[in-house]
Symmetry: C2
Subunit: 192 residues, 2 copies
């Protein structure tokens, strides 16, 4: 996807860590709320399963062509959904044909609209999700997850951070179960 | 700009507050990190003046056609920059001709690239800002402010929140000096 072949970020980071992790170490004051936001949206209490929330994040990252975020969250989704790895590929290739519930499909359609622009989300998108059983809180969280990944994707790529190409790198990290604030603490060598 | 004439949000909020403030009250767990992020980026220690950071936020919100965020941050920028109200209009109308420093212009060009996509930020954009004296931290913060407003703008408009049309409404709120976490506390009736 992005910056293929580019070997160094736009700014001099203070570590060799890839993607957003190098940015967390460079700017820890911003890293804390960024991770707390991910923690609330992707790991916090919700009627949407964690794997489905990771799939929304993954799908938006694919639409934004952000390699680091896509591989990272695809790996998280793959560990948390039945046949997760295949499902991520199917959603990315053809959402209309992917074997997800009608409700999740309608939420992913909303996420894709948000990826283009907030104004692209229509009454019809929202009514379709509601007709499949989505609650207002689930619709809210879908919009905010999609919007947040439009931020994370731009942050990671706007500074041309480096992303690993080996799927095993991401699969290994996806086994971590401590959540995103733990990732932040790990990156900074601090207690969560 | 967005949703002109539309009188109600896509979901049932638990207050009549406009824009992102109604969303803060609906989802306080997410509101806290969202406001802490704004606080760090727009009010925290930085070699970029607060008014210039608000101008970056305003410019991105204009490019995203987000009425609530644009009017809100235009009013903040106007109170913090010499001839602020006129300057906001000039930047929005024609960045190339607006009377800003060469450094701020180069940072606004980076912000505009981020608004399109992270991949649109080039080595040349970054070299141009650096040649005008921008530090790596200033370039970093510009990218993250622009990325964050691509999130806030999508959040506000993706849920079709209602925005006031009267400039006086925003000018009055811009007199508040407590920062963004104070806004969050005010919206929720909590101590900051």
């Amino acid at each position: 996807m992005n910056h293929a072949g580019k070997s160094h970020p736009h700014i001099a980071l203070n570590s060799g860590e890839p993607g957003i992790r190098g940015l967390f170490r460079f700017r820890p004051e911003a890293a804390l709320p960024l991770n707390q936001l991910s923690e609330v949206l992707l790991c916090g209490d919700s009627t949407l399963p964690r794997g489905e929330r990771e799939l929304i994040a993954t799908y938006v990252s694919a639409l934004n062509r952000c390699r680091f975020c896509y591989y990272t969250h695809a790996a998280f989704a793959a560990t948390r959904l039945p046949d997760g790895a295949a499902l991520v590929d199917q959603v990315r290739a053809d959402l209309g044909a992917a074997p997800v519930s009608a409700k999740l499909r309608a939420l992913l359609v909303i996420a894709a609209a948000v990826q283009e622009s907030g104004q692209r989300v229509t009454e019809l998108h929202v009514a379709a999700a509601r007709a499949e059983g989505a609650t207002d809180l689930e619709i809210h969280d879908t919009v905010l997850i999609a919007a947040a990944f439009c931020m994370y994707n731009r942050y990671v790529d706007g500074l041309a951070t480096v992303a690993a190409d080996e799927p095993a790198h991401y699969a290994e990290r996806a086994k971590m179960t401590g959540g995103y604030v733990a990732v932040w603490a790990d990156a900074l060598g601090r207690a969560a």
